[in-house]
């Protein structure tokens, strides 16, 4: 049992309707991409949830962690000029 393999881990992203985003659904084990796609289909679209699937080996993912959170995300907090509500529009102007 020590040498057992349960095959590699893959991350699964499902697009539920064409035009929508592929959303992370979970993971599956598989030895190759064809098996990963088929397993993702059999595991995550049994209730008609899918119109397209992406899979990628979990080992290919990099994730930011809490230690990066401050420098990554806090600087965006005060850049209010990126939002339309920042601007004052003259009264009476339409469709802007």
């Amino acid at each position: 049992m020590a040498n057992d393999t349960q095959l590699a881990l893959w991350e699964v992203f499902i697009q539920s309707k064409s035009g929508g985003h592929h959303v992370h659904a979970g993971s599956v084990h598989a030895s190759d991409y064809k098996m990963a796609l088929q397993n993702a289909r059999d595991v995550y679209t049994r209730r008609n949830e899918g119109s397209s699937i992406w899979v990628a080996p979990s080992s290919c993912f990099s994730a930011s962690g809490p230690e990066e959170a401050e420098m990554f995300f806090d600087p965006a907090e005060d850049k209010l000029y990126r939002h339309p509500t920042f601007y004052t529009m003259p009264e009476g102007a339409k469709q802007i």
């Binding site: 057992d4 393999t5 349960q6 095959l7 190759d32 049994r46 962690g65």
Partner: protein
């Protein structure tokens, strides 16, 4: 980050009711507790495929066969979601399976009871899944993000499981004398083990303290058991089944049922490996795991040889 700092950041998040995510700092004991609980939950789903699987080839109609297959397939899927959830905490599926097969990890006691007649399929869906869903609905608010998300998906998918079981029981209670006897017999055998699924009384529960402090668990064993009893008694009455508990009676003050004493001796005996099916369940799991080894090896070897296929 040292252990004290980890503890402080972690506790702060917990108190704000924020979810803990895989890369967030967390105390080792929180991680260990989650791995134990989630892998046990995953193993329960997977071992739970066996008692119901015992009836797939004998399901009495094409519709019944489809429903049962789809349901057991869901259990497998839920085991899979939960294994993946535990994998985010740094344990592999290989390790979890090894822990199960060496007895280091447990699974729910309920699956050490046999599914003897077709009515057992009804009772398992209605009572066992009914008890499980009470527990799982509460876990949707658990503090570990991936676990909460898995529970959300599982609860959504399991909503048909209890109904299909209840439908089987209801149909049998409308059927022949033999069918009614079969249904009551299944009720008699599954009721008490279903109540045991919620675990020991709060006053005797070993792990509860930490689980509450860390908001992994948010309702006590007794609260959840009470909830299950209160809704199930009415459902039994509607279809004419008797709850096999002479001490069961409505308590006006607490607005819930009082129930008779649970046989904790039996509970301990089964947990310690002497239930009717403990050995059978584990032998089945080990046998098919070993019989599948050459297939997994072949798939891995093929990928080594043809990495782009």
């Amino acid at each position: 980050m040292d252990a004290t700092a980890v503890q402080a950041v972690f506790q702060d998040k917990i108190e704000q009711d924020l979810k803990i995510e895989p890369k967030d700092p967390m105390p080792d004991r929180y991680r260990a507790h989650l791995i134990r609980q989630i892998s046990q939950h995953a193993h329960s789903e997977v071992i739970g495929m066996q008692p119901e699987g015992n009836w797939i080839t004998r399901a009495p109609s094409l519709r019944a066969k489809q429903i049962l297959l789809a349901k057991i397939q869901d259990e497998g899927g839920h085991g899979l979601y939960l294994y993946s959830t535990a994998e985010t905490l740094g344990i592999s599926r290989e390790e979890m399976i090894e822990q199960l097969q060496t007895g280091k990890a447990k699974y729910s006691n309920i699956f050490n009871y046999p599914a003897l007649t077709w009515a057992d399929i009804g009772a398992i869906g209605w009572l066992v899944d009914g008890a499980a869903i009470v527990n799982q609905v509460a876990l949707q608010r658990t503090s570990y993000g991936p676990y909460a998300r898995a529970m959300f998906r599982i609860c959504k998918e399991e909503s048909f499981h209890q109904r299909q079981g209840y439908e089987i029981m209801a149909n049998m209670m409308k059927g022949t004398t033999e069918q009614r006897e079969m249904a009551q017999d299944a009720m008699n055998r599954w009721w008490w083990p279903a109540l045991m699924m919620f675990g020991p009384h709060d006053k005797d529960s070993a792990h509860s303290g930490d689980a509450f402090k860390w908001r992994i668990k948010r309702k006590t064993n007794d609260e959840l058991r009470q909830k299950f009893i209160d809704k199930t008694v009415q459902q039994a009455e509607v279809i004419g089944l008797t709850i096999p508990d002479p001490d069961l009676k409505w308590n006006e003050t607490k607005q819930g049922y009082d129930h008779g004493e649970i046989n904790w001796e039996e509970f301990k005996r089964v947990i310690n490996g002497n239930g009717p099916c403990n050995k059978q369940r584990m032998e089945h799991h080990i046998r098919y795991h070993e019989e599948g080894a050459w297939v997994r090896e072949a798939a891995a070897a093929y990928h080594e040889k043809f990495p782009t296929d």
